[in-house]
């Protein structure tokens, strides 16, 4: 088989623009989903540790559902099934009038899925805090909310920065699934370049390089965060 290498197509204006636009969508989807995931993940993770049984149950159910249904299936459900299940007006609005439906759907699906994974990290982080610290905070008159806010969360967030780094990288990788509902993110754009130019290797190499660069930047950022927030000499629960 003869393959005509032609790296220069990547720099032709049209295809370069596609790559840049794909990169933009990938970053937008991943970062927006990450924001949703951090907020909901933190709430649900905390919810799994509070004394109230009902809240704990709801949060545990959330995690089980969103973590165990494959992300691709969740994308399809949000995109194809949810508009049908909602009251007519809302469903019609989602299908016809919602701006950027592929983008919004991808962000919601990816955000809620990632939230379930972050919730587990948050819960685990809170559980590494020695119970004596909670007792001390309580004994000084801090309320349950204040104990979480000033003691449990700051300690546990520092403990879970390393596992969160890997979730942060995963959210970029998982954002590629958005192509299945028609969002022209990086993977979709490379695929399109491959189809137009028959230069599949070059197109996907470009995508790979960009994903790797994103991963490197993300890793460096998280390492800085870890370094900046490290508690001097503290290693968590002894034993």
């Amino acid at each position: 088989m003869e393959y005509n290498w032609n790296w220069s197509i990547l720099f032709e204006e049209q295809y370069l623009n596609w790559l840049i636009s794909g990169f933009g969508w990938t970053v937008s989807v991943a970062l927006s989903a990450w924001c949703i995931a951090i907020v909901i993940g933190a709430l649900v993770g905390v919810g799994k540790t509070v004394p109230n049984k009902v809240i704990r149950g709801i949060c545990a159910t959330y995690v089980e559902i969103f973590r165990n249904v494959p992300l691709l299936v969740q994308m399809f459900i949000w995109y194809f099934a949810v508009p049908e299940m909602l009251p007519d007006d809302w469903g019609r609005w989602m299908k016809r009038d919602m701006p950027n439906p592929e983008f919004v759907t991808a962000v919601v699906a990816l955000g809620l899925y990632t939230a379930s994974r972050i919730a587990e990290q948050v819960r685990a982080g809170i559980e590494t805090v020695p119970p004596g610290l909670t007792a001390a905070a309580t004994a000084h008159g801090l309320s349950v909310g204040q104990t979480y806010r000033y003691v449990l969360l700051p300690i546990s967030f520092r403990m879970i920065v390393p596992p969160l780094t890997s979730e942060f990288l995963t959210v970029f990788k998982n954002s590629s699934l958005a192509l299945t509902i028609g969002l022209l993110e990086l993977t979709a754009q490379s695929q399109q370049i491959a189809e137009y130019t028959f230069q599949g290797f070059e197109a996907f190499t470009a995508a790979t390089v960009i994903y790797v660069c994103i991963a490197l930047v993300a890793t460096v950022l998280m390492q800085l965060l870890e370094k900046y927030t490290r508690i001097p000499g503290y290693v968590g629960k002894e034993g």
Partner: protein, 242 residues
């Protein structure tokens, strides 16, 4: 000041406290001792409502801790508590450890809180360590800071749960010295400890517990010179010959 009336407590089926009654007057120092698992920690945790009781009544300074709708956070902010393992907040500097509850619970301004903190750190001999983190300090230093942290709340009484039993022998004295000074200044104290030297020196009364019950509750010298119950005699001979 602290009054404990006929309290009983269960952990599911397991009875930890059996009909305990005692009281601590203002300015009094009471030492609680007894074998491991006898319920000493549980008893003092009930005093500030860290553990609920199923039967009986506890009041502190006239406020009922065991009442259904007791305002526990307000009550707790007036009772200091010092733990065996110090329980300093590891992610905060020494100064922040002392300021957190002052600001968030008592609503003191930053400058008031800092001033109070610095005064108390000087008092426990830790003024040079305000910027350090707990893990950079020895056990004895951490415990002195934990005591200062409680004192910063201007408590009306202090509870201690084996404050020196996690310390290396050479650090026990520096912590006991702080506690002795506190006792001599008239602080109301309830202290779980096996430091019988401390008890003899500053305690007004000694409570001896076994299997969740208060077996003896008597003035210090009486308790040491002629313990009534066999169990207390046994306990004392073991601990004093140690």
């Amino acid at each position: 000041m602290i009054s404990i009336e006929n309290i009983s407590k269960w952990y599911s089926d397991f009875r930890v406290l059996t009909d305990c009654t005692t009281s601590v007057k203002k300015g009094e120092v009471v030492v609680v001792c007894g074998p491991s698992g006898s319920g000493k920690s549980t008893l003092i945790k009930c005093v500030n409502g860290l553990e609920p009781v199923q039967e009986g009544r506890i009041t502190v300074d006239g406020d009922e801790v065991t009442a259904k709708h007791a305002n526990l956070t307000a009550l707790r902010s007036r009772i200091g508590m010092v733990f065996q393992h110090f329980e300093l907040y590891p992610h905060m500097s020494v100064l922040e450890n002392l300021c957190l509850a002052q600001e968030k619970v008592l609503g003191r301004s930053r400058s008031e809180a800092v001033a109070r903190a610095e005064k108390l750190l000087a008092r426990v001999g830790m003024a040079d360590h305000v910027k350090k983190y707990p893990s950079q300090l020895s056990g004895g230093q951490q415990q002195r800071i934990a005591i200062a942290r409680s004192l910063a709340m201007d408590p009306i009484a202090m509870l201690f749960d084996e404050p020196t039993s996690a310390l290396d022998p050479e650090m026990i004295k520096e912590v006991l010295d702080v506690m002795v000074e506190l006792a001599q200044e008239g602080m109301t104290m309830m202290v779980v400890t096996h430091e019988m030297g401390f008890a003899r020196k500053v305690a007004d009364r000694v409570i001896f517990m076994d299997e969740g019950a208060i077996i003896e509750d008597r003035p210090t010298t009486e308790f040491f010179d002629n313990p009534v119950s066999e169990r207390a005699k046994d306990f004392l001979s073991k601990i004093l010959n140690h």
